[in-house]
Symmetry: C2
Subunit: 322 residues, 2 copies
Amino acid sequence: MERGQRATILDVAARAGVHAATVSRTINVPDKVAPDTRLRVEAAIRDLGFVPNRAARGLITGRTGNVAVIVPDITNPHFASLVRSVERSARQSDLQVLLVDTGEHPDEEVRAAESLSREVDGFIVVSPRRLHRSLGALGSIPAVFVNRPVPEHASVLLRTAPAVTDALAHLSDLGHTHLAYLGGPAGSWAAGERRTAVRHSGRTSGMQVLELDVGEPTFEATTVAVPDIVASGVSAVLAFNDQMALGVIAGLRTLGLSVPEDISVVGFDDVPMAAMVAPPLTTISLPTAEVGAVALPMLGEGPARRELFGELVVRHSTARVR
Amino acid sequence: MERGQRATILDVAARAGVHAATVSRTINVPDKVAPDTRLRVEAAIRDLGFVPNRAARGLITGRTGNVAVIVPDITNPHFASLVRSVERSARQSDLQVLLVDTGEHPDEEVRAAESLSREVDGFIVVSPRRLHRSLGALGSIPAVFVNRPVPEHASVLLRTAPAVTDALAHLSDLGHTHLAYLGGPAGSWAAGERRTAVRHSGRTSGMQVLELDVGEPTFEATTVAVPDIVASGVSAVLAFNDQMALGVIAGLRTLGLSVPEDISVVGFDDVPMAAMVAPPLTTISLPTAEVGAVALPMLGEGPARRELFGELVVRHSTARVR
DNA sequence: ATGAAAGCGCTAACAA
DNA sequence: TTGTTAGCGCTTTCAT
């Protein structure tokens, strides 16, 4: 640990009195080396603090031991949670995570896919918006897409349909009959899945659903749209994500209205802040923490598709209609 | 882009009718190759979609083109913002970011430092708590520590003293005379710096400061401590971070007290949510977005120390004392 | 069960 | 200005 030069496999071999190949074997196929030599080699490895050089190994094996995670914005708690999940699982498989934050720029995705295609064994791409062009850049590297089904590629989908049904039932139970649904960005699979779920649940539950488009799925854009929501006369709002739900609450407040007394609000994602705000948000929680464990093994398993299901978490932003 | 096998430097050389070394030169030292051959080589590179293999390059140059970023919890918006900043700067230097989320476990830091010491050209470590043991594991790899001065190593520090003075002045102007300060975790440099700043500003401004320890710097732990804060009779609270500030607000609310009418609250960090909650939080904003641009160039520049300064952002969680 | 030798893709002297 | 050569640290046949 104190030596300026790192130990190489040759140093280990010398110290153990064997050939480098034997050291390599004790590391990679321990059963193919005699127990006593193995012990000697392992001791030498420990003594020298030897850590194999992945670059050298990768050069010959063709595997890098890296996976790239591509997200639009690591600052968004939802994506951060996804990244964390992948990082955890990666570590267990002795993989390293290369983080790419595209800053919501699809072009950056393409650039990243190109420049990293040699550096990684696979891509986990969390990219709500479409990205046709980057698919070519992926080349033959395995990729799994989160919340975006892509032909010929694997994907893991966070489904919300059952939870949406629960949410509408919850609202119905509270006496709500008119709901505004604030949709997500066009081109986002999640936006489509949630919209479909809302429409379907609306039909089966008898809830009147008014679909609204706020422009951007952000806090600010949503606050601006709140007067329209109020004017529509609904008593409840379901927003595409928690930030938007907070935007509704904030906008309502500037109008002198309060949640849940005047209007009930439900979000999606269940970001950590959802539980910290006032009122604590009723929201559809997504099992983001499980995504890594599901997605990583799918790398190199062909174009499979796995679904994970969110569920309704009832807190205090929903109440009986007045 | 369609070929199963990736092009190597040999393919490029063949197509351009030159030796591999010449290709290498046009990439790394373009001035040392004749303009016309350079053009030919560049064309070949483009045609083949050639991207140099970093592993192979690193094997000989000794540089990997990777930097590791070690954070306790990427899910914390403050750390996410720091990571994003590093990622952005790294990309501009054609570096890749290896993300390590230790989950607040110092042991993981050590493990990461050891296993990555061969894979990276440097470490950016964002580790509020102390980590003596990992320093050895760093070996001779350059490292810059964020918010933790470490002897023999570089660091960038987010200083808040001037902003704290502003915060206390702001509170004084509003008529507050008694302030509770909810400190950060022991062993954290930031906690020390902020406590010192509060004490000093308290003395010079004549504000009575009551220091409280909430245990963990979290929302939950803080909510629990709120009754004590109220009992102390202060009219304002300064919390070590925004999550704690939100905890104060939430705890106050369950007591039937409101912010800023009954008590004023100030936080640190200015996480995005701070502006979205009710009331929008008065907080000390930190220039996290600049950290990457400052820290990365410091890698390999020896044990320098740079300071960046936060500033007070007045929103609506502070008001005139009743 | 172990050693010898070749080679992954690239760069860095050194020659020419 | 360009080519030749050697070799970074490791794994993997192929011998032994």
